[in-house]
């Protein structure tokens, strides 16, 4: 393969020795190049002028709807980094694998990327289930995963950087805001029936009760449920001030269409609907006219008015088309390659053990969401924001926390 590149830097005796070890993967041979060896002591796929990374998302199956944006953002970041000269003078080459919305496939492809391809880092996974499936592989083979989705917390691995928000960052300020700005007293919690909504609502309920407010209902519906008329009637009976929802996927479309059809006008805010799970991406499928007046609590909205974001949105649209939209997770996925680049350059090495030491404390001042910083627990310090949806499918940011919120994946008193 690329033996010529490295052999020029090798002594004759070592070359003979290497011929005898022809069974070793090419990457191992490359690793013994004296120059590349300085930045790579563990046999990763790094040459004098390239470094390989993996992208692992679902491009087929049910999750493709959500994960496409993340793939686009990661490719954009990689391209921009390459245009700036790459990482430690090396261009990034990505190997893309399809998780196919199937959790064991994520584990299998992770192993392929780490063991066969020797990638220096992987940007991927979306659902918690896929992350949980891939996690043992990353820990066993000491890989580094950059995970973009907001999620339920209760996890911290030395081999994962969580670039989305964990549950407390997303929830607590949202509820405080509803209480202080909107005078909300009664909350109705509604979610799809799996770990993220249940954990999120557990935290939400504890926080609501701590504030001396009331939870008047908590309901879960199976993933993919499409009939919400009964629960809407129940909501009408309980008269909450806020419907706090963590409904996901196709169910979202059904829920908002039926809410509107049942005469609950979101713009009247009676009740107000506050969601953790509807980003600009989801609105494409729901239809802007059906979520006009919805509030969403997350860290990023496409309409954020800072300069970093304007540049990011413009370049994203240039690469992926004028009609493309950017949701919270897409932005978080975009951060992954940049954080990795900063950590590698600070360590002066691609070695996973080396960047594990430099990752905590890495700052990005160029993040579209504003300033972010990696916490020693491998999550990001980030702001909480509330967006108010408009009929054209975008959000107005109506609230932004003053300070960065500390990530706290194992919140005491909320479990």
């Amino acid at each position: 393969m690329k033996k010529e590149i490295s052999s020029s830097r090798l002594g004759t005796t070592r070359r003979t020795l290497l011929k005898g070890l022809a069974a070793l993967p090419a990457a191992m041979v490359l690793a013994s190049s004296s120059y590349a060896a300085d930045v790579n002591t563990t046999g990763l796929a790094v040459t004098d002028d390239t470094v390989k990374v993996g992208i692992l998302h679902s491009i087929t199956g049910t999750m493709a709807i959500s994960e496409t944006g993340s793939v686009q953002a990661e490719k954009l970041a990689i391209q921009q980094i390459n245009d700036m000269g790459g990482v430690l003078g090396r261009k990034i080459e990505y190997i893309q694998e399809d998780g196919a919305s199937d959790w064991p496939t994520f584990a299998e492809k992770s192993k392929k990327l780490l063991v066969n391809d020797k990638v220096a880092a992987v940007f991927g996974c979306w659902t918690s289930a896929s992350r949980k499936a891939a996690l043992p592989v990353f820990e066993q083979y000491n890989g580094m995963l950059f995970y973009p989705t907001f999620y339920e917390g209760l996890e911290q691995s030395p081999n994962v950087i969580y670039t989305g928000q964990e549950a407390t960052q997303q929830i607590l300020k949202g509820i405080d805001w509803a209480k202080e700005t909107k005078g909300a007293k009664k909350f109705f919690l509604l979610g799809s029936d799996y770990i993220w909504p249940r954990t999120s609502n557990k935290i939400a309920r504890k926080h609501i009760e701590k504030l001396g407010l009331k939870v008047v209902g908590e309901e879960y519906y199976p993933l993919g449920h499409t009939q919400f008329n009964s629960v809407i009637n129940k909501i009408k009976l309980k008269k909450p001030d806020v419907i706090f929802t963590t409904v996901v996927g196709g169910s979202n479309v059904a829920f908002y269409k039926q809410l509107k059809a049942a005469g609950i006008d979101l713009t009247k805010e009676k009740p107000l609907v506050l969601t953790l799970s509807v980003t600009e991406d989801e609105i494409l499928g729901i239809g802007g006219e059906n979520v006009d007046g919805l509030y969403a609590s997350m860290k990023y909205f496409q309409s954020l008015p800072n300069d970093n974001n304007k540049k990011f949105v413009a370049e994203f649209k240039k690469m992926w088309g004028e009609k493309s939209v950017i949701g919270d997770v897409t932005q978080a996925a975009y951060l992954g390659p940049w954080i990795w680049k900063a950590a590698v350059e600070k360590a002066g090495s691609f070695d996973v053990d080396a960047i594990k030491k430099t990752l905590p404390g890495i700052e990005l001042t160029t993040a579209p969401e504003g300033y972010v910083k990696v916490h020693p627990n491998h999550h990001l310090w980030s702001k909480s924001r509330i967006g108010h949806a408009k009929a054209d499918g975008t959000f107005d940011v109506v609230y932004e926390s003053k300070d960065l919120i500390e990530p706290n994946p194992f919140p005491k008193g909320y479990q």
Binding site: I59, T60, G61, T62, A64, I65, T68, D193, E218, E219, Y220, Y221, P222, G224, H225, T226, Q227, N229, S230, V231, I232, N233, K234, K236, L237, G249, G250, S251, N252, V253, A254, K257, Q258, K260, A261, A262, G263, D281, I283, L284, G285, I286, G287, G288, E289, N290
Partner: protein, 308 residues
């Protein structure tokens, strides 16, 4: 749980809840009608039923774009034209599938399960390639969204009423077709005894193709209708397939009346239980009840007495 409410409030909630049950009934019935013909009449286990529905939904989406671009004045009524297009589109695809795939498998009904499941995967990926992996938003005319206020506290969803009317019309249509029309009688004859039907001069191949395509066409109409209440994406069809089979099997595969009775009992049980307990629990109890009844009555609620 009702102590804090006045009688008037309770009355209106129960009225709306009763209506919610009726809407669910219409939705289940409309989903199941196409399959009742294909699975019930022909014995083909059509796992791609959901994908035929979604094709109908995508045709509605295309029609809505067409109207909003070229005929904005007629946008208010595009939906009904979209339904006709959806029927024609899925009917044609149904004929094609029957001709290329299903007709080779009539003697091996269990294999239709695998073949149509493969077909469903192919169609999903096709939708993903053509329309993109994201769900598309189907814009509806304003008059079809929103609610109709019967009194101060009773509000009836307009789209729910439309679904009910469509279901009623289609059900009566299918019933009349199967019982009265020449084609319908022929298709029943072919199902009951293929060799004999052939012997008396019925072109069984043509009848099969027509019946299968008709079932697909009705699935297409159902899909178009569900753009009012649900999502339209490459894999949205999967959301409906389990419920659809549940209704048809529970009702007794070969009986249209059984399908109606089964849709009614499942929807009422589901919506009443959903009101008093959580959604997941209601679903569990509904499924358990169905399993118990099917253990006692494996042939379903209604079944034809046939000498085998």
């Amino acid at each position: 749980m009702f102590a804090d409410y006045t009688w008037a409030e309770l009355g209106s909630i129960f009225a709306m809840q009763g209506f919610a049950g009726l809407i669910l009934f219409s939705v289940l019935l409309l989903m199941a009608l196409g399959l009742a013909i294909i699975f019930g009449q022909m014995g083909v286990i059509n796992m791609a039923h959901g994908e035929f529905m979604i094709l109908g939904a995508y045709i509605t989406y295309l029609t809505s774009n067409l109207f909003s671009t070229y005929l904005p004045d007629l946008f208010g009524i595009y939906f009904f034209i979209a339904m006709i297009f959806a029927f024609i589109g899925t009917f044609l695809l149904g004929s094609l599938v029957e001709w290329t795939l299903i007709r080779h498998l009539y003697k091996r009904p269990l294999d239709t399960l695998l073949a149509t499941w493969g077909l469903s995967l192919i169609l999903q990926q096709l939708y993903r390639t053509v329309f993109g992996p994201r769900e598309v938003g189907v814009t509806l005319p304003d008059w079809m969204m929103g609610s109709y206020a019967v009194s101060d506290s009773i509000e009836i969803p307009v789209n729910g009423m439309i679904v009910m009317v469509i279901t009623l019309v289609i059900t009566i249509g299918v019933f009349l077709f199967l019982q009265k029309s020449r084609r319908g009688k022929q298709s029943r004859a072919v199902v009951l005894n293929r060799a004999m039907a052939g012997a008396v001069g019925i072109d069984t191949a043509r009848v099969d193709r027509f019946t299968f395509a008709l079932g697909c066409g009705i699935a297409g109409i159902a899909g178009a209708t569900f753009t009012m209440i649900g999502s339209t994406g490459p894999t949205s069809g999967q959301l409906y397939i389990v419920d659809t089979f549940l209704v048809v099997v529970f009702g007794g595969a070969a009986s249209l009346l059984g399908t109606i009775a089964s849709a009614f009992s499942i929807s009422q049980a589901q919506s009443i239980m959903e009101f008093f307990m959580s959604g997941s629990m209601a679903k569990v109890l509904t499924l358990l009840t169905v399993i118990v009844i099917l253990m006692l009555r494996p042939q379903g609620l209604f079944s034809l007495k046939v000498r085998r």
